[in-house]
Amino acid sequence: MKAIWSIIFKDVVVELRNKETLSAMIMFAILILVIFSFAFESSGVDKNAIAPGCLWVAFSFAAILGLNRSLAKELDNECLQGLLLAPLSRGELYIAKVAGNFIFMLVAELVILPLFVVINNLKFDLQLLKVTGIGFLGMLAIASVGTILSVLSSATRMKEVMQPVLQIPLTIPVVICAVEATAGLLIPDYGENSSWLSILAGFTIVYLAVSYLLFEFAVED
């Protein structure tokens, strides 16, 4: 357990030093929200109806960028090999890396959400807290599958391209559930969202468990 905390702490310290991952994620997500906002401004589309989708597109792409950056730090100087040499199981290493990536995604989410509220003229109320909760769950699912995919894609020639190519199809169910659950909160009379939340939680557990079991094979040279 101590080793897991050490890896998480190291990831946070390295990020605080270079600020590469978080700044890239946040800037990219803001750009997506702004572009969507302008794109639908004059079309007469109800912005509230598309807001949940826009939010999750921003979250998903920011997460992909963050996972890419996070792995790049471990590939620099082959630091990942240094971690693999340490006396901890591949499962523990996976948990540590997922936790590190998840923390960065949460921080990004906490910065992006208020901007999303402002851009879409929403209210800062209890519903927003619930959206934050859905965000936490969705981000955990994305981090769990994204961490193993980033390691797998690192073994390919076009790793920056392979990460989204592998991750987007696999996280579509997560994004659909998260968008539906978010829409249930933000759009009046949209309908009940608890079943979508249950499915989202189910996907998160399955992704975490499967990725935990497969990580050993993913890191094999």
């Binding site: 310290v13 630091c79 040279d221």
Partner: protein, 238 residues
Amino acid sequence: MSATFALRAEDVRKTFGHFTALAGVTLDVKRGEFLTLFGRNGAGKTTFLKIAATLMRATHGKLWIEGIDIREQPEETRRHIGFLSHNTYLYRDLNPVENLRFFAQLYGVSNAEERIRSLLDRVGLKRRASDPVRAFSRGLHQRVGIARVMLHEPSLILLDEPYTGLDANAAETLTTMLQENVAAGRTVILTTHDLEQGLRSATRAAIIDRGKIVFAAPGNDPTVREAYDQFIRVGLTR
């Protein structure tokens, strides 16, 4: 499995698709031995060390480190191993102390701060202990890498071309540190192309060629040079 051997390899093979990197390595290394493994580029030296360090899985065969089957207890095996390759596995945004502190935590090193100070002093980096590693030259990187390998006092030290990039002073320090470790009963396996450097401390020398151990003899045996000429110098033109 007898614990008098620091490493036992039994018909270890590794293939990458159609390419055979190791064609069946069988090797025993006793505790306290300093084995230098010579070989041409692509002979299988690095692959063998990576398998021994549990970074790679053998396609076939068995390998024990300190009597432990590396497949059955990889985590326990890794506690006994210190591995240095061409890359030092250091985080460029952290300074040497932070890097070593991180690895000390991973290995559960007690009295870590004292050990880090003493190792950095030993490799001549005490005055640059607070500079980020990104500002270091290749040689300085390698010095911190050496400190990282020695940090948890491994009983088996695996070194893949460790002298690359080191100046004469640092190379001398590394040689002395390795000799001290062998004197303390630890085992060293080093790979190199450089015959003179490799034989300086070796108690045994072996040559790996096309994925097989083709020669092994005591380090001071005159046949080592002949075998080196036969398999490596001539091998270059083969």
